[in-house]
Amino acid sequence: MAKKKKNIELYAPTTWKKAFQRDWQLYLLILIPLILVIVFNYAAYPGMRMIFYDYKPAKGYDGSEFVGLETIKKVFKDNDFFLALKNSIKYNLLDLALGFPMPIILALILNELRFPRFKKVTQTILYLPHFLSWVIIGSLAYQLFRPSTGIVNIVLKNFGLIKDGIPFLTEPGHWMVTYLLIAVWQGMGWGTIIYLAAITSISGELYEAAMIDGANRWQRIWHITLPGIKSTAVTMLIMNLGRIMGSNFERLESFGNSGVKSEQYQLAIYIYEKGLAGNNFSRATMVGVFQSLVGLLLVIVADKVAKKLGEDGLL
């Protein structure tokens, strides 16, 4: 009887006063992350008013000139901004087109593998690139792909396939392909985990029944495995679509060089170069806020779409 009474006390809705009396220790714990978030995230929000000033770091807000909507107008007349925006969207869409199917295909292949030992070693090796920083991947790529000293070009030349070194990372067109494929390579193994987990939850009986009915490997993949991971794939696709405005500074920076500026110039680079390196704080803030707002909007839309399709939302 006493136990039941305690139960009610613990879980019945209470007044704030009672809740604090009972759980003050929990509130004390959560105060720590709350303070951190307020000090390091929320406290930065007022800084967004820089958009309306011609902000000079040395003068602060009081000393800087209030310019109203001038900065916003300037940004939307800025060719550099449109180049960065165009490149960001273009590369995110290409990343998605190449990077989204690859883990699915790889997961299907891994699932068809017979030898558990071999599978385990393969997975361990394929996950590795995910744990390397973009600096390492970028500098490794430069070592491998340089026109005259990179091993890839040396090997191709030795086989007589090419005469001159291919400028994999120094000419815009080649750079685009190399840059995109390296990201596919980096993410493909790691991306399989989520699909392999989904495949594990498909009932083995389905496969047995299909085998008894004489379905071959492709039929089993097409009619059992693929439908089994469809909802995971849809969720992943929507989540990735929500990130279409993002841009990864570390990745771009690691692959940057003077020859490919026109392609490498994306929003993260714009904000860094105009803002921190170029001291044009107001304009960089404006572009950052634009990026954040559109990103937020996309996430909300993606969440709505996912829920409409009967999948779990993101929010």
Binding site: K3, K6, L10, P13, R22, Q25, L26, Y27, L29, I32, P33, L34, L36, V37, V39, F40, N41, A44, Y45, M48, M50, I109, L110, E112, L113, R114, F118, T122, T124, I125, L126, Y127, L128, L132, V135, I136, Q143, T149, I151, M188, I193, I194, A197, G204, Y207, E208, R217, I224, T225, E250, Y272, F281, A284, G288, Q291, L293, V299, D312, L314, L315
Partner: protein, 306 residues
């Protein structure tokens, strides 16, 4: 799910291939996977070989997967230069502090939020999650960091990032599913406080997730360098190893990527660069096989909640 049942499920899922004979398609599958694995392994073998080769062989383009004219000069130079070695030590300390504090903060957020009895839970969790979806951007954050005196300061690389909403969500969903309220009730009946329950019931049961998330924190801090590039402007001693490597190779690659490559090449210690990259990569490759399975676990738990 018990381990045994998991095993059973895995073995029934072999149904797709258990009975059939080894076919041509099996061979193709293995071939594809071997090739993909080689793309992950060969670059590092080549780089390792290069870093252990004599300059002349590298310039003559004769080094492929095995060192020619074996020498450790390049590594000696890396150690003598000392910057990478110092930075390595600094990064280890930075990562250790970051991971420890990160786990403390993560637990402080995830444990209360995982308890249904906490009044105001939804509001608190909303307040904590907003920054994940809307950030003020680089410049306002930079100005804030400047006001907080965290520019050119080691704590500038720690404090802003130790609360990670993503890690918090993973821990929260783990606590919700593996520590039911009934488990706590028994402790409360014995008169335990919330702190005692956390210390004696919850944490001992959360060891696997603590291991996983510590690794998430550690790898995240170890690998990222954008914030260091933003916030460490003048003081060399606060630069983590990834930033240092990035600065070392970017000057070199910029020079040798131009038309002058052939000329610069002799002057640019390509071997030295290879050694520097290997110096930063080897620790990860050494630790990675042992900790990999914890990562996979974390992704699985995280996937449940999206």
């Amino acid at each position: 799910m018990s381990k045994k049942r998991k095993k059973e499920m895995e073995s029934t899922n072999d149904g797709s291939r258990a009975i059939t004979k080894f076919k041509f398609s099996d061979f193709v599958i293995m071939l594809v996977l071997v090739i993909l694995c080689l793309t992950c392994v060969l670059p590092f073998i080549h780089l390792g070989a290069k870093s252990l080769s004599a300059d002349t062989y590298v310039v003559a383009k004769k080094v492929f997967l095995w060192p020619k004219g074996f020498t450790t000069t390049a590594y000696k130079a890396v150690f003598e230069d000392g910057r990478l070695v110092y930075s390595f030590g600094y990064s280890v300390v930075l990562t250790a502090i970051f991971t420890l504090l990160g786990m403390v903060v993560c637990t402080c957020a995830a444990y209360p939020l995982s308890r249904r009895r906490l009044k105001g839970r939804n509001v608190l969790s909303f307040v904590l999650m907003v920054p994940m979806y809307f950030s003020a951007g680089l410049i306002p954050t930079y100005v804030l960091m400047n006001d907080l005196n965290l520019i050119d300061n080691m704590w500038g690389l720690i404090l802003p990032l130790i609360f990670s909403p993503y890690n918090m969500l993973i821990m929260k969903s783990f606590l919700q599913s593996s520590i039911p309220d009934t488990l706590e009730e028994a402790a409360f009946l014995d008169g335990a406080t919330n702190f005692q329950v956390l210390g004696k019931v919850v944490l001992p049961l959360s060891k696997p997730i603590i291991a996983t998330l510590s690794l998430f924190y550690a790898v995240g801090r170890w690998n990222s360098y954008a914030d260091a590039k933003y916030y460490i402007r003048l003081k060399e001693k606060f630069k983590p190893i990834q930033l240092l490597l990035s600065e070392m190779v970017s000057t070199a690659s910029e020079a040798s990527s131009t038309a002058f490559e052939a000329v610069v090449n002799i002057a640019t210690p390509e071997v030295l660069q290879a050694a520097a990259i290997m110096f930063v990569t080897i620790p990860i490759i050494c630790v990675y096989p042992f900790v990999q399975k914890y990562f996979v676990k974390g992704v699985m738990i995280g996937a449940v909640k999206g």
